[in-house]
């Protein structure tokens, strides 16, 4: 096997400002809508799609910032509309709010009846609720029953993620921002879990991209459980594209991370409830 030469085809596309080509790119972690804590120049769906076109991103899997920060129903409705406005380009996560436990299952069913959502989004930090709190159990059981994706801002601990992924083996668990604070120096427990559990995946969305950390993650755990995520529109999606494009890992690993892994999770159309 010949040694890779850098910049490779992905990095060359970036350097020319061209969309990534001959690769399927699926963003597993994006958002739409406003967030009052910071100024984001563009947060609208049309601008998000325009940016995705510029980069070569085929599908955005997203939740609404409003659902995390304020009214989850209004936020979920916003995502429903985006899916209907951009069929195939946008797939949604239903945000559940653990402070309204009796509303969780009705909300999931309401949303899946309205649009082709792919799964659930938990945001324990935004909702100030424990990652392993009991209010999430009904949603997890639902995800298991229907084979849904569950993306959580934080699963609390790797041990909990290990246990819950075994308890609900038909659900797909994504740890968001999985390398956010990980410099690639000390061992990362989440990598161990992702390597051993077939239904556990690590989303690479983050603002801090430590030098060499992605390369080490691939070397330690392989690329099969790493997912391209952008955290747009907080962040410019180009940031995540650039991190992967310039990483010194083989082409086939980049292809899996950029889209194939997520397509494997969401590939089959989900039937509305």
């Amino acid at each position: 096997m010949s040694m890779p030469v850098y910049p490779d085809r992905f990095a060359r596309s970036v350097l020319q400002g061209l969309p990534l080509s001959e690769v399927r790119v699926v963003d597993c972690h994006a958002h739409v809508g406003h967030y009052a804590s910071l100024h984001i120049p563009e947060t609208g769906m049309a601008e998000m799609i325009a940016t995705a076109d510029r980069l070569g991103i085929e599908t955005l899997c997203l939740s609404a910032l409003e659902a995390i920060s304020a009214d989850y129903r209004r936020g979920n409705d916003c995502v429903s509309r985006a899916m209907l406005d951009y069929p195939g380009r946008v797939r949604g996560y239903v945000v559940v709010n653990p402070h309204y436990p009796e509303e969780i299952l009705p909300e999931i069913e309401r949303c899946f009846a309205a649009a082709p959502f792919i799964g659930l989004k938990f945001h324990p930090a935004g909702h100030e609720y424990p990652s392993d709190g009991p209010a999430y159990e009904a949603a997890l059981a639902y995800a298991h029953e229907h084979g849904l994706v569950v993306l959580s801002h934080n699963w609390g601990s790797a041990d909990y993620l290990d246990r819950v992924s075994q308890r609900y083996p038909r659900a797909h668990f994504i740890q968001a921002h999985s390398a956010a604070a990980w410099r690639g120096i000390a061992p990362l427990d989440y990598l161990r879990v992702a390597k051993t559990r077939p239904n556990v995946f690590l989303d690479l969305a983050l603002s801090m991209a430590w030098y060499g950390a992605l390369e080490r993650a691939v070397a330690e755990a392989g690329s099969e459980h790493l997912l391209f995520g952008t955290d747009a529109a907080f962040l410019d999606p180009a940031v995540a594209v650039g991190r992967i494009a310039f990483a010194q890992v083989p082409d086939e690993d980049k292809v899996k991370i950029l889209g194939l892994n997520m397509l494997g999770i969401i590939g089959e159309p989900l039937k509305p409830v």
Partner: protein
């Protein structure tokens, strides 16, 4: 796009990232892999070791490399740890060091004219640009930015080019008014990652205010490269940000 990276650390740091380069040959190879043409570097030992020695050793490291240029980390003159500002700046320029870096947070001083005035006067007189590094890592570190100090210095020395290093999310509500008031203030782009953030800054303040940097080898170079490449700026604007603005500032130095 010819990229001139304004923010590179060159040497052997206490904490080394996986596969990070530690010498000029390694940096040069990384620059080739990333399409970067030139780099402005500082020594990691300046952060918490012997600054003067680290600055001098950086010269030896960069002497052998093409397109790798040293920036010296400086201290306020009050304690006399460095030479008198006039002598210091003369020495810098004699050694072809055309940029200074200030680290008020790491080195424990306030960004105030009362502490820095004599040094900034000398740097201004010779048009030496100042990279201002508040030791920002995550976006939540924005609390460590001394905006009042930046305002005071930029107002007192309007001919001094000040480049804020590694500004992240959540700075705009402080940054925009500062850029409005101070034409000598610039933004280094290694962590300025808001969606359409570069485009918005360039549209309002002009692309001449943006300076490309990566922060490697602490941070990965790909994100800031891609952020600029896909920014939607015109080719001419991208070239200004990628390297033209920094080259202009360095060429403006009065030896």
């Amino acid at each position: 796009m010819r990229m001139f990276d304004a923010n590179v650390c060159l040497g052997r740091p206490a904490v080394r990232q996986p596969s990070a380069f530690t010498d000029a040959a390694g940096l040069a190879a990384t620059m080739v892999a990333c399409g970067i043409s030139a780099a402005l570097v500082y020594a990691p030992a300046t952060i918490n070791a012997d600054i003067i020695d680290a600055n001098l050793r950086l010269l030896a490291a960069t002497d052998v490399a093409r397109d790798i240029y040293p920036a010296w980390v400086l201290l306020p003159p009050g304690t006399g740890e460095m030479a008198h500002p006039q002598t210091l700046v003369d020495d810098m320029l004699r050694r072809r060091v055309r940029a200074a870096r200030l680290m008020p947070r790491a080195h424990g001083y306030a960004m105030r004219v009362r502490a820095l005035g004599p040094l900034l006067e000398c740097l201004t007189a010779r048009r030496v640009p100042v990279l201002l590094d508040f030791g920002l890592s995550a976006w939540s570190d924005r609390i460590h930015i001394d905006w009042d100090g930046v305002h005071e210095v930029c107002a007192a020395f309007p001919e001094l080019s000040v480049i804020l290093i590694r500004l992240g999310l959540m700075v705009d509500r402080d940054l925009y008014p500062m850029l409005d008031r101070h034409a000598n203030l610039h933004v280094e782009t290694s962590y300025y990652f808001g969606h359409r953030g570069l485009q918005a800054l360039a549209a309002r303040f002009g692309a001449q205010r943006l300076i490309f940097g990566t922060g490697m080898p602490v941070y990965a170079p790909g994100p800031p490269i891609a952020s600029l490449a896909y920014s939607g700026l015109s080719v001419a604007e991208q070239q200004m940000v990628a390297g033209g603005n920094l080259e202009r500032l360095l060429q403006g130095v009065r030896p």
